[in-house]
């Protein structure tokens, strides 16, 4: 077994990974909350209409459209941007794992995490 550099022990990797996940969800939640307040302040008195499926408008279905909606400070666009940050969090966690196992010199797990990252990106690209 290759010697693990003391600066990148499993405990250190776990601490950084935990902080990364927390930062991701807190940031996503803050953006969702900001968008939600704008949305409810403007439309809060309306009746919810979710019993019929209409699907989201094209602007809220793609990354480019969501960013365009969010920069014009539309509530629903900002919430959707927060959801993109939320979806990106586990992907960032896998990407960080590749780096962490590389720092540990753990070849088997570099390969394992690269396979997972490839499958994940393949699944996302296929959509």
């Amino acid at each position: 077994m290759p010697p693990v550099p003391a600066s990148w022990s499993d405990e250190k990797v776990e601490t950084i990974m935990g902080n990364l996940l927390r930062a991701g969800v807190v940031l996503a939640a803050a953006v969702v909350l900001a968008g939600g307040l704008i949305y409810l302040l403007l439309h809060g008195a309306a009746q919810p209409g979710y019993h019929v499926f209409r699907g989201e408008p094209a602007d809220l279905r793609s990354i480019r459209g969501i960013v365009a909606e969010a920069v014009t400070l539309r509530g629903r666009g900002i919430i959707q941007l927060g959801l993109l940050l939320l979806i990106a969090t586990p992907i960032a966690r896998v990407a960080f794992s590749v780096y962490a196992f590389a720092r540990q010199g753990d070849r088997i797990y570099i390969v394992v995490t690269l396979i997972v990252l490839t499958l994940l990106l393949y699944g996302l690209a296929g959509s």
Partner: protein, 280 residues
């Protein structure tokens, strides 16, 4: 009920979903889908989109604590993610040629059986200096330790190929049915690989976020993910998952097993109900 009241009701329900999801490793969908469809009259497609978002939020929210505290086994999680991710792609590929209604009903029955099984704790695996180690688990450096009130307790992993195969099945089902496969993940680690229950549920919790993120793009582009529904769900579920992660540390494994079995029975009945109604 206007949108503000609707959002508040949904947020309170999501808080419970996040709490249960984080404790059991099942994600929040088990509670979110019936809450939205049965109690609030929301279309099933919007409910599936919101449920997917709730799984990612529960997973990442609780994992931030579980990983730091040393409950989740990152190596086991990462290795098994190969099986779940490739299974999910395989399931999505199969989805066009298989009756999901039949699969849903069968899955429901399998879940009822496993809920019954998961109630019985398996014999504690002795794991000390003299214990013969599983060769694959040793090669993959999977054996580990987790915190208990009596200090760190070591555990040895076994039956890695069986666990890997079950995880592929779990991934395939989630690709086919569009549901988080947390139940099968926990059962595979608990019953086949003989991990301590807290390690099984927190490692499953760690993994389900990745499985869900992989299919999030599909649901987003189909227009299933509605911001007005997702907002209260995300905020509620995250709050619940932080509370759940706190509670797990002090909870007895016996209690967690009972809660897990109860939630799995709920999930099973939901699957069977949805199959009969033709909503899968």
């Amino acid at each position: 009920m206007n949108l503000v009241e609707f959002s508040l009701v949904l947020m309170v329900g999501s808080l419970a979903a996040g709490f249960l999801g984080a404790l059991t490793g099942l994600g929040g969908g088990v509670v979110i889908v019936p809450l939205l469809t049965l109690a609030l009259g929301v279309d099933i497609r919007y409910a599936i989109g919101a449920s997917l978002i709730s799984v990612i939020a529960t997973s990442s929210g609780a994992a931030s604590a579980y990983v730091k505290e040393g409950y989740s086994n990152i190596r086991i999680g990462m290795f098994l993610e190969i099986a779940t991710s490739s299974g999910a792609l395989f399931g999505a590929f199969l989805a066009s040629s298989i009756s999901t209604q039949v699969i849903g009903a069968v899955f429901g029955i399998v879940l009822l059986y496993s809920a019954y099984h998961s109630l019985r704790p398996h014999a504690a695996q002795p794991c000390d200096e003299g214990t013969p180690r599983d060769r694959i688990a040793t090669l993959l450096r999977m054996d580990g330790a987790y915190p208990t009130p009596e200090g760190q307790r070591h555990y040895c992993v076994r039956a890695v190929p069986l666990g890997f195969g079950l995880m592929f099945g779990a991934g395939t089902l989630s690709g086919l049915l569009g549901i988080g496969s947390g139940a099968l993940k926990v059962i595979a680690m608990d019953q086949a690989m003989r991990l301590p229950f807290k390690v099984s549920s927190t490692t499953s919790n760690f993994m389900i976020g990745v499985t869900a993120a992989a299919s999030a793009g599909v649901y987003l582009s189909r227009g299933y993910i509605d911001p007005g529904l997702a907002m209260p769900v995300v905020l509620g579920v995250l709050g619940g998952s932080f509370l759940g992660a706190r509670f797990l540390a002090s909870a007895r494994a016996r209690l967690l097993r009972n809660i897990f079995a109860g939630v799995v029975v709920m999930l099973a009945l939901e699957m069977i109900y949805n199959s009969l109604k033709g909503r899968l």
